[in-house]
């Protein structure tokens, strides 16, 4: 087990290094320059001297290999540097946004699990009945409806309905407060995007639950249990569900990792100051340091999540360790 664990840990390194190389070169291929963007404002006067000063300050004139070296070194000693757009420490910039994104990710995952497991189970047990079709339609709708459209509809709906019933239009707050400071205010803002996102992600988990459960239900030991005369309910709860949870947990884990970097559009619609928004802004601003830091962060989360899942699998299924 230990050997397997060490092997998986070592394999994380090349992935991270690959991600670092990819982001480094990809960003520098994009034409444009953070200094130009800062100093050119909305197209008024352009002071070339000011731009040159800025470029020198940010080390944009250093040879690429030096920039890359600084980037890798900084990542290894956990010194992420300063944002090229604001000049402030990157950890300071990411901190607040990370809190928000993690909270949404957790809430959305929670909601998606609450929806997915019961629905997936029903759908599997009653395969090919009307119930199955309704559940599948409901869950596919979650994927099919564009999330930003859904978000806009939700907010508009809130505004219009509150105005109709209460006289004054109401919408969720547009600023974030930490749940430890003001739990109610925090929840009022974040419940909506969590629901919109959770519903979307429940679709994947529902289908996985359904197919995993279906597979398990075909197994011989289930057939034996039925032959023994056990109640169907006990079969499901005690045997089938437990054994089908493995792939479901995997899917949920992986989806959680994707949630961290992937909520860009949702954040725009609900005006959430999260990692996704920061990501898009930093790419648009050509803020190399910030984008690199964020990509590494997301890649790290992804790689670690996969690692945890792999270890979990190997622990449960010894055959994997020895392959």
């Amino acid at each position: 087990m230990l050997k397997y664990t060490i092997k998986r840990v070592l394999l994380m390194v090349p992935t991270l290094f690959g991600a670092a190389c990819l982001v480094f070169f990809l960003l520098r291929l994009i034409p444009g320059d953070v200094c130009e963007l800062r100093m050119s404002g909305e197209g008024g006067f352009v002071d070339n001297e000011a731009i040159a000063v800025c470029q020198e300050e940010l080390g944009l004139n250093d040879p690429k290999i030096v920039q890359f070296g600084e980037f890798i070194y900084g990542f290894m000693v956990f010194d992420l540097g300063q944002s090229m757009w604001t000049g402030k420490a990157i950890t300071h910039e990411i901190n607040l946004r990370f809190q928000l994104s993690i909270q949404i990710a957790i809430m959305a995952t929670f909601i998606s699990v609450i929806i997915a497991i019961p629905l997936g189970t029903i759908s599997a047990i009653r395969q090919d009945t009307w119930l199955d079709y309704v559940v599948r339609t409901f869950s596919i709708a979650g994927i099919a409806i564009p999330s930003f459209w859904l978000g806009i509809m939700i907010i508009l709906g809130l505004l219009i309905s509150t105005q109709a019933w209460l006289g004054e239009p109401w919408m969720p707050p547009i600023e974030y407060v930490s749940p430890f400071v003001d739990p109610v205010g925090n929840m009022v803002q974040l419940i909506w995007p969590a629901i919109a996102t959770g519903y979307r992600y429940s679709a994947v988990a529902t289908r996985m639950t359904r197919s995993a459960l279906l597979e398990v239900l075909r197994e011989d030991y289930i057939r034996t249990a039925r032959a023994k005369g056990l109640f169907e309910k006990i079969i499901i709860n005690r045997h089938a569900l437990k054994n089908s949870m493995l792939p479901v947990v995997t899917v949920i884990g992986i989806e959680f990792a994707f949630l961290m970097g992937g909520l860009v559009v949702t954040e725009q619609v609900f005006n959430l100051n999260g990692v996704g928004k920061l990501f898009v802004e930093s790419v648009q601003n050509h803020d190399f340091n910030m984008t690199q830091a964020l990509v590494m962060l997301v890649a790290l989360i992804f790689v670690v999540t996969n690692f945890v899942v792999d270890i979990f699998y190997a622990w449960l299924d010894p055959r994997i360790r020895y392959s």
Binding site: I30, G43, F45, E56, H92, L96, Y176, Q268, V269
Partner: protein, 539 residues
Amino acid sequence: MKPRNKLAIALGAGAAFALVAASPAMAVKRGGVLNIVVGSKIPSYDGHRETTFGMIHPIRPFYSLLIRVNPDNPQSTSDFQCDVCENWKVSDGGKTYTFKLRENVKFHDGTPMTADDIVATYHKLIFPPKGVASSRKAFYGMVDKVEKTGKHEMVFKLKYATGGFIPALATPFNFVYSKKDLDTHGYAWHQKNINGTGAFTFVQHQPGAFVEGKRYANYHLMGKDGKAKPYLDGYKAISAPKMAVRLQAIRGDRAQIEFRAFPPKARDDLKKALGDKITVQESDWNCVMGFSSNQKLKKFQDVRIRQALTLAMDRWGGSKYLSKIAIVKTVGGMVFPNHKLAASKAELQKMIGYSSDLKGSQAKAKKLLADAGVSGMKVELLNRAVDQPYKVVGTWMLGQWKKIGLVPNQIVLPTGPWYAKFRKKKDQETMIDFNCQGVVNPLIDASKWQSSDIATNNRGNYIDRTMDKWYDQMNRTGDPAEARAIMRKYEQRGLDEKAHFAVNFWWYKINPHRSYVKGWNIAPSHYLNQSLDQVWLDK
């Protein structure tokens, strides 16, 4: 003394205690926190260096200027008022401006403000040391020296008299910094730190979320009720990149006002939803939407083609429709509409592309293209990936060119690559071009049409020394009539004869806000009048 300078003195002296006779006598109420939504991001806090409204809207209230546009009359292009000064005198044939400063101004950290601070600020702005960026240095080409002449008195010595100096001085980015801060902490300190003399003190900035300011008790300007301004207890500038969110925020009362602009439909929707609870302020905007062709490319060196492209534009008709769906409206030339130096409608219609005979213009365009041998040629329009008004006007322009037989195509790039294409690579064909300025200062605003080795925002890549000569003459003459005559020549050559850069429309600023926000008057630029000291909430 020339009449111009007499006017300047009168304005300067009288501006110190400008009592507003025009506004209705309404008792101001104190208290409350104003929530603003801002669509852009803050780079650093240093006004001398930054150029975006994303910085001005949240940070401006922390600082003061030497002189500023009169917040009660910001639509006027000549009404400038003292902020930290008491008055100013012009002498020496318009070459010396002496400023007497107020003696009761204190920085937020307690340091009293003296002439040293103003001199240090303007040295940083106009004569920055090597390695320090000052983005609007070029506005002050006329300044020779900035000197202290007393504890609360200082003087600007100009190389030549010009009407462009006072408006340039009122630039909202000219934050007054403390000499002590610059000496102790260096020239980069203000990028991440705030210590000003403005109506509000800095409370906090949550990155990407909001900037919060609190009322400064020792502000130097008095309110209408005899006590020190500001009237608000504080303000919060909340970040909201999507327009739909900003609109919803005002509707749901999460924010009361937005200082850039909303498109016409947004205004209509808000009005329909909230009726009287929404007040709408509108004005022309000191931004121009036009297009220029890259004269580095052989085909655009033929003036007939450039002329044909601008002849195809149905400006008067387009204005009618586009003003319903985009933030543009007024048809104009090089100068801000209705400014003294601007062309009258009759003068405009003499230039190509401004005629009310659309069919005639289109026929002429087709003929010019045929003469040049390029009927039905492809046109590639480089545009910026921003909806309002760029993409909307771009789509309209494509339709106009189709009508004279051209085959147009739009290339839309995000802002970074867009800048890179015409600044570094310079290989664009025709591009949507614009010219956004702060204080309305047509003499300086028209600098764009000079040769590209002089004007850094000239994207047409051409050399035209006649334009350069006329620009200089315009700026150095003290006689407004002469300036106007030269401006007409300059405009005619730039828009018609040489068709260097075509102006389609002037932008139109629409600011709907909650009616209980009072005291803020719309300015012709989203950079102006953002000090918030005169704003109060009627609740």
